[in-house]
């Protein structure tokens, strides 16, 4: 299977100007590839930089050095050097991201929160809502909640809404940050199945999972993030 992500010597340091310019090295020499249909799990203790690496691949955190190659619409694009409008294009059609916590716009109904990524690619609203409904159903979000904004939902419900939003598009790359952290066994199983379907469809996945059972079920390969630890 062809590589979808190629990361070479990526590096990230935070400079905290409000704390007297303290430099907080996060990761350095991050190098790994992910192929289509493969799930790579990032492992390492809390604070090792796993989420930061996902955010770098999504273009949310800026890299100080190195290269993050993304196969976008058949061509390689280095996210580290890409213009903002290119990064937006990559997010529209190539990379999906399920963050640890749902960050939704106030007042927007759950079904529209989930359908939005499809509408952004130009799909008709009703078609997108139909697909959103299917996913919400599958993730056991009760239909009476669909018209409500998710801000008042429980942690587990919000996470499932977030997963539905991330999984609704046919993006060839998916980044998952603790997708099953606050789910019960039954819903964990559903998410594991959804991930397996994505892999069969050729999606390249990078995931952070603490649950050993889930990790064994989905990961083809483990990348140990402690080897990228930046010396403080």
């Amino acid at each position: 299977m062809p590589a979808m992500i190629e990361i070479t010597n990526a590096e990230k340091t935070f400079t905290m100007h409000l704390q007297g310019g303290v430099k907080l090295p996060v990761v350095r020499d991050v190098s790994f590839d992910v192929s289509a249909g493969e799930c790579v799990a990032l492992a390492g203790p809390s604070g090792a930089g796993k989420s930061s690496i996902l955010k770098m691949i999504f273009g949310n955190y800026r890299c100080d050095d190195g290269r993050i190659g993304i196969r976008h619409e058949g061509k390689w694009l280095d996210l580290v050097k890409a213009e903002p409008c290119r990064i937006l294009g990559v997010r529209r059609s190539t990379i999906g991201y399920v963050s640890q916590f749902l960050r939704a716009v106030p007042r927007v109904a759950t079904i529209d929160v989930v359908a939005e990524p499809l509408i952004a690619t130009g799909l008709a609203r009703e078609t997108a809502r139909g697909k959103a409904a299917q996913l919400l159903q599958r993730l056991n979000i009760s239909e009476r909640l669909w018209r409500l904004p998710p801000s008042t939902f429980s942690g587990g419900e919000q996470q499932r809404v977030n997963i539905a939003r991330g999984f609704i598009s046919d993006h060839p790359i998916l980044l998952l940050d603790e997708p099953t952290a606050s789910l019960d066994a039954a819903n964990r199983k559903i998410v594991v199945d959804l991930i397996a379907e994505k892999k069969r469809a050729g999606v390249a996945i990078v995931a952070i999972v603490h649950d050993d059972e889930v990790r064994r079920a989905i990961a083809d390969r483990i990348v140990d993030v402690t080897s990228f630890a930046a010396a403080a």
Binding site: L18, K55, N60, Y61, V105, R107, I119
Partner: protein, 266 residues
Amino acid sequence: MAEMKSVADNDRPLLIAEDLAKNYGRLTACCDVSFTLYPGEVLAVVGESGSGKSTLLQLLSAQLVPTSGRVNYRMRDGVLRDLASLGEAEQRFLFRTDWGYVHQDPAQGLRMAVSAGANVGERLMAVGWNHYGRIRHTATSWLERVEIDTARIDDTPRTYSGGMRQRLQIARNLVTEPRLVFMDEPTGGLDVSVQARLLDLVRTLVAELGLAAIVVTHDLAVARLLSHRVMVMKAGRVIETGLTDQVLDDPREPYTQLLVSSILPP
């Protein structure tokens, strides 16, 4: 074919600012501002009062003449023109049709003594509409779109609440299907609950109509909700720029870090 054309159009900048500067005597209101705006793109200009962001908005919308630098705008015929070189008729066309300008104070952008329907219809008449029934029909549908009870169409905005006035101002601006909308603190004087509704409305309309917008705000939450890209201004200069979530989640400059760390948690 039509689709190919629109794709090509979207790849071409709508507005290009080159080294814009404005001095008031020895005072520099803004300087060295350069950026490119593409069709459908929403750019937020953030910074505290006095940072030069309102001056910049006026320079970009041809309400102020820059001391140096220039603003190029792609007219509907596809030709990129320097705003300073436009004739009066061309400028009027931009103001009346191709651009919208949403003021912080709706009283500045509305005619307070005439009805809501006339406020919306007036922009249509300015571009040559003359059929009363069609104008009224379009005005009515725009009031619906901005969630104003159409039974209030003949009332003047004086009788409207602050949030309704702001929504009416937005309808008045968007009715001519502009390609670019300037917004100066659009939620500035509103209650928090009214703000959320307005932001949701603006976000939806901008996406549906594929508008480009330049939004000046001191509120980073507004920038996060509405914009694709952010420019942070301080003392008349752009100190940081990038994708909105990059700049807000990973701010690099001391001043941006200060702004971001000053947001109260929800």
